[in-house]
Symmetry: D2
Subunit: 367 residues, 4 copies
Amino acid sequence: MSFNTFGQMFRVTTWGESHGPALGATVDGCPPGITLSEADIQPWLDLRRPGLNKLTTQRQEPDQVRILSGTFEGRTAGTPIQLMIENTDQRSRDYGNIAQAFRPGHADLTYHQKYGLRDHRGGGRSSARETAARVAAGGVARAALGALFPGLRITGYMVQMGTKHIDRTRFDREEIARNNFFVPDAGVVAEWEAYLHHIRTEENSSVGAVIEVVAEGVPPGLGAPVYGKLDADLAAAMMSINAVKGVEIGEGMGAAALTGVQNADEMRVGANGIEFLSNHAGGILGGISSGQPVVVRFAVKPTSSILTPRRSVNTAGEEVEVITKGRHDPCVGIRAVPVGEAMMACVLLDHVLRDRGQTGGLRGLIG
Amino acid sequence: MSFNTFGQMFRVTTWGESHGPALGATVDGCPPGITLSEADIQPWLDLRRPGLNKLTTQRQEPDQVRILSGTFEGRTAGTPIQLMIENTDQRSRDYGNIAQAFRPGHADLTYHQKYGLRDHRGGGRSSARETAARVAAGGVARAALGALFPGLRITGYMVQMGTKHIDRTRFDREEIARNNFFVPDAGVVAEWEAYLHHIRTEENSSVGAVIEVVAEGVPPGLGAPVYGKLDADLAAAMMSINAVKGVEIGEGMGAAALTGVQNADEMRVGANGIEFLSNHAGGILGGISSGQPVVVRFAVKPTSSILTPRRSVNTAGEEVEVITKGRHDPCVGIRAVPVGEAMMACVLLDHVLRDRGQTGGLRGLIG
Amino acid sequence: MSFNTFGQMFRVTTWGESHGPALGATVDGCPPGITLSEADIQPWLDLRRPGLNKLTTQRQEPDQVRILSGTFEGRTAGTPIQLMIENTDQRSRDYGNIAQAFRPGHADLTYHQKYGLRDHRGGGRSSARETAARVAAGGVARAALGALFPGLRITGYMVQMGTKHIDRTRFDREEIARNNFFVPDAGVVAEWEAYLHHIRTEENSSVGAVIEVVAEGVPPGLGAPVYGKLDADLAAAMMSINAVKGVEIGEGMGAAALTGVQNADEMRVGANGIEFLSNHAGGILGGISSGQPVVVRFAVKPTSSILTPRRSVNTAGEEVEVITKGRHDPCVGIRAVPVGEAMMACVLLDHVLRDRGQTGGLRGLIG
Amino acid sequence: MSFNTFGQMFRVTTWGESHGPALGATVDGCPPGITLSEADIQPWLDLRRPGLNKLTTQRQEPDQVRILSGTFEGRTAGTPIQLMIENTDQRSRDYGNIAQAFRPGHADLTYHQKYGLRDHRGGGRSSARETAARVAAGGVARAALGALFPGLRITGYMVQMGTKHIDRTRFDREEIARNNFFVPDAGVVAEWEAYLHHIRTEENSSVGAVIEVVAEGVPPGLGAPVYGKLDADLAAAMMSINAVKGVEIGEGMGAAALTGVQNADEMRVGANGIEFLSNHAGGILGGISSGQPVVVRFAVKPTSSILTPRRSVNTAGEEVEVITKGRHDPCVGIRAVPVGEAMMACVLLDHVLRDRGQTGGLRGLIG
C-alpha cells in the first residue's frame, strides 16, 4: 500500500506541503557505499528551482537540500536517507482568494472531496513544489546508478510546447542546457519565448508541453513480466508527476498507426553483439530492457492557475468565477524536465536492484 | 515487490505460460459476501476468447474458468480466490522454428537476456494468453464493484485501427457488441474488415490500434497524491498489457497543445450538485477521481509475429531471417478491449478499498 | 498489503480451503535457472501428510503437488510458479455439527465476526491444511537455497510436547527422521507415545508443543534494520502458522533473566575467521545474520478440536456445548515441524534476494 | 519491500542515526480529519526520554518532536506526516573506543558485514534512539485510534526484570506511572532498584526484562488469515524492537504445556453478547481479534554495552577485549515499555484501516 511512496526496492516517500515548514523525501533501500553528499543532489534541484528564470514562477526558493540521515563519512550507509528542503518563501496571502473556491481543472476539488479538508495555501500537497523532493531523490538514484553503470546517461528535454514542436533534424544535446526551455533545438528558442510571453501576458493563460526523457547505457534485463514491467513502472512514474496526462514509450500512441513490418526493430550482429536497426520499441520488449536507449515521453497539461476568469463553484455550493493570482508558471512543462529525469533515474535504479535481487545479475548469452 | 502482482488491496497475481497445463489468477483482498460464481466471470472471458471470430487467432481455447477457492455457498469468503483456466490447444509444434531465433520487437530476446532461458512455446509467459487471467480477475472486480456501486459502468471500445479512426459523431454504445472490432461506429465496420484483411493476407503484416475505456458512475475521492494517483495506477495497469506503448487520460498527449483557458473544465451547480461543462481531465484531478467519467486510452502496437521475413539474430549469435507462422492475431488490439476493461475494473476496486481503508468513506461536503 | 502473501521478493501467496477442490501456493520472484520438479517438493509434503502416522489426523490425503507454471525443461523460468494440491478426502459430513457453533479457542468465531460468513467445513481457510501449501512453497525455496548456498542446512524438531521435554544432552540429529515425533532424542519416544495416547484417549484432549528450527550455513548479512529484521520476519513467519502462540530467537524469553556478561557471545579469531564462543543471540544481531546458526523456537497450542465438551455459543446467540468429532491431530505440533522448516526456508531465501538486491552481495571484510 | 517501513496501510518509515543531526518517522496513510498536534505526541516521547530517570542512560535529549507536514489547522490532512526529532546531545567522543572493535552481542558486527561500513557513533542506526521515532509515530496512531475507538486503551508494563518477577495478585494499573520501572506492582519497586543498582555498579553488567502490552477495547475482526494475521504482525512489530528475543501472545510459550481442555476459552452469553470465561488466546483466534483484550509479551535481552571486558575481534581481524563506556541503560527493557505500546498502537491502527478497506466494517452477527 503506497499512497506517497514509489519504487519497490529503492523506495522514495515524499512528504510536505507547499506552505509548510519543509518538504522532503525519505529514501530507503539505497545501496551502501555510494559516495553521496548534498553537492551530488543540489545541482539537479537548481535546475528545477522556482524563480530561476523569467519563464517560471517568481516564487523565490533557494531549495537547499540537507541530508539528515543515511550517510557516514561521505558514503551511503544502506540506511534510510532523509532529504529535507525547507520552505522559505511562503507568501500564503497570495492564495487567500481560492481558499473557498475550486479552480477548474485543479486538485482543489478532489482533495476537498476525498479528505474533507485541504491545505489551500499554494495547493498544499498537490503543489508542484512536491516535485522538488522527487528531484532530490533522483539525485540519490543518479549517484547510485553512476557508481553501478558509469556509462548510463539520462537526458530530458522539451519536444513540444503548446502548438510548437522542435525540429528533430536540428537536435543538439549541448543546446539543452543553454536555454530556458530545456530544448535541444536552438532554432525554436526565440519563437517559443515570444509565444509563451504572448500566452501569459496577452491571453492571461498557460500552455502545455511534451517532454522526452532518454536513458542510454541501460543494461538489458531490467523489468519483469506483467506488473513488474519496466514500461509500466515508467508510465506510473511519469503519470504521477503533477499535470501529466499522457505517457508514451518508443513510438507511443503513434504505434497504433504502424504495421508489424514497419514497427519491427530488425537486428544484425555487430562488433559488440546485437545491433538494432531502429528503436520503435523505445528500448523495452515485453516489459524488459533490451539494451537500446529507453525512450519515454509525457504530456503536461497547461496549469489551471490562470488569470482569465473561469466559472466554478465554492465549498458553500455557490457558483463563482475564479481567477488565480499568485506566482504560477505559464508552462509547468518546463520545470517538469528535471522531474522527468529524476523519475527515470529512480525507476531504473529500482529495477537494477530488483533484477539483481531475483536473478543475481545472471544474463542469457547470445553467441 | 511485485513482479506478477497488481493492486495493493485488491491484489491480482497472474500465473501461467501459453503452453503450460493451465494459467490463472490468484485474487487476494476481495471483499467478503459478494455473490460470485463462474457464471459471473465466464462472459467476459468469452469476449476475448481466441478463435471466437475470424479476425483473431484461430487457436481454439474454450477458456473455461474454474473457481478453486475463496467462495462459499456462492459468495466470496474474504479469502484468496483462485481462478484457473486450463490450456487445451497447445500445438507447440507450430512454434518450433522460433525456438532459437528472436522475433524483432518481441519479448523473446529480453526474456532470454534476463532469465537465461525462456519458454519459447507460444511466447511462454509473454504470450497474450496471460491476459485471459486478467480478464478473469476483472470479472471478480466487476462483481464487487457492482455490489458496491450499482451505477458504475465500464465500457471499452476501439477508436482507431492502423490509420483508420472512428467518427465520434456516430458513437453508438449498442453497436460495440454487434461487430467483431468492438467499435462504437457501425459506419467503419465494413471498411475496417477490408483493411485488416488486406494487411493480413496481402501485406503479411499486422496493425496497431487505440482502445478507449470509460468508467461512468465512479464516486469522487478515489486515488491519492503522488504515487497513489488513480491515473498513475491506470497508466501502469494499461501499460502492463501486452504490446501497449502509450496511455492517455482525458485529453492525453493532446493536452500539450491546449491553453489553460481551453483546458479548464468549468463547473456550475446543478440539481445533483456540481456539473462539469467539459471533461478534458478525464475524470481525474490531482490523481483523485472527481465524479466525472474516467476516460483512459491506450495504444497497442502491431504484433511482431508476422509472415513477412524480418532480419534478426539467434541464440548462437548468427544473423537470420525470421518468419512467424502459427496462429496470430493480425490486430491484437481487438482482443485488448476486454482486457482494458478488466484492468479498469481491477484498478477501480483496488482504489475503492484503499480509499475506504484510509478515509472510511468520509467525503467533503459542498454546499 | 498482503493478507495471504508472505515474503517481499520471494513471495508466496497461499490459497485454498480445507474442503474446496484444491489448495496451493503461487510463488513469485524465484530466481531463474533453478532445477525444480515435483520430485524436489513432494518429499517435504510427505513429511507433513495427514494420515501418515498414527499420531496425526487420520484424514487420508495423498497431497500430490503439481507444478502448473513457472518451469521450463526442468528449471525455473523466473516466472510465477503455481503449486497445486488437490483435496481428495473431503468428508465434510464429519464437521456438520459445528456449522453453527463456535469451537472455543478456534477461528470459527473470528472468521464469522470478520467476514460475515465462513466455510465451516473443516475450518475452511483456517484449517491446518493450508500449511501444505507452505510446505510446497518451502520446497521451492529449499531448491533455490540449495543452488545458492550448498552448505545451508535447515533442521526442525520437537523439543517439548505438553509437559515433556527432550534431554538435549542426548541430541541426535539422525534420530529425528526415525520417530513419529520428529524428536532428536530417542530416549523420550516411548514415553511420549504413551503420554499422547493418554491425552487423546483418556482425557479426550489434545496437547501443545515447542518446535525448534535451526539453519546452519546461513551467510552473514541477511536482514536489515528496523522492520526488515531477519528475526522480525522469522517471528511473523512462525507466528503465522496455525496455533502458534510464541516465538523465540536464540535465548528467547529466557534472555530476560540473563545479565549482559552472561549473554555476550564472545568472539575469537579462528582458522576461518571469527569464531563465536556461544550463540545466545541465535545467529542474529541487530536484525542481521552473523554467520552463526539461526535458531528459532515456537510454541504450538493444543488444538481446540477435542472430544471433551466445552461451553460455547452459536450463531443464533444461544449457549451450547461443543464437541468436535472428526479427524483431528491430538498434537498439531508434530506436523508443524516441516511447516516451520518451510517457513525458515522461505524467509531465508527472501532475505538472500533482498540482500543481494540492495547490496549486490558486498560484504565488509574483517582482517 | 520494506527495510525500514512497518505497516501496510498505516505506514511508518523511521530514519536517522544516533549521532546524526536528527531522526524521525515518515507516516503515510493516516486517516484525515484527526485532531493532531505536537502536544498529542510529546507526552509519549517524554516517557521513553533518555536521562529522565536515574535508571536509564544519562544522555540528555529533550526529544522534542516537530510535525513538518501532513496537518492543516490542527487536523491530519490525509497526506504524509513527517515527525522530526533533532539530536542535541551527540557526545560521540564517548564511543571512540569501539570504532574498530565489535561489541559481543551487538549489531556492530553485522552492520559491518552487511554494509561494508557502519556509523559507529552510538550505534548509528542500530541505536535504541531509533525507537524515539517509533514512539512518535505511535502517538499519531493513538490519536487516530482514539478518534475511531474511544474505548480502546493500550497499557504496557514490565512483568520481569532479570530474575525478578512481579506478583500479579498485586496488579495495580495506577502504579505503573508512579515508579521508574513501569511496573504495576508497588511491592517490587524497592527490591528492583537495589537489584539493578547491584547489576550496574557491582557486576558492571546489565540485565534483561519482559514487557507485557495489553490492548483493551479492540473491536473483533482485525487481522486476516495466514500472513495478515494480527498476531503475526504483532510478533514482527515487537521483534523489530532493539534487543527483543521473544514474543508471546496470550499464553505464549506456556501454551505448549497445556491441554486442549485447559486452553479452551469457554464462552457464555452475557448482557453485551459473548462473554469469555478466560483469555488464554490473548484476544486473537486464527489471526483475527475476538473482542477480548489483546495480550502481547516480549523479552528484551540485556544490553551488550557493558563495562565488564568481553573477548572480541576488531575490523583488522585481531583479538581484543571490549569494554563499552558511554551512557548506556543497565536495563533497556525499561524504556522499551512505551516503545511496545507504540508498536501495538501502530499495528492496531494499520489493521483497523486494512479491515475497513476490505470488509467495509461488515461484521457477522451473533444472535
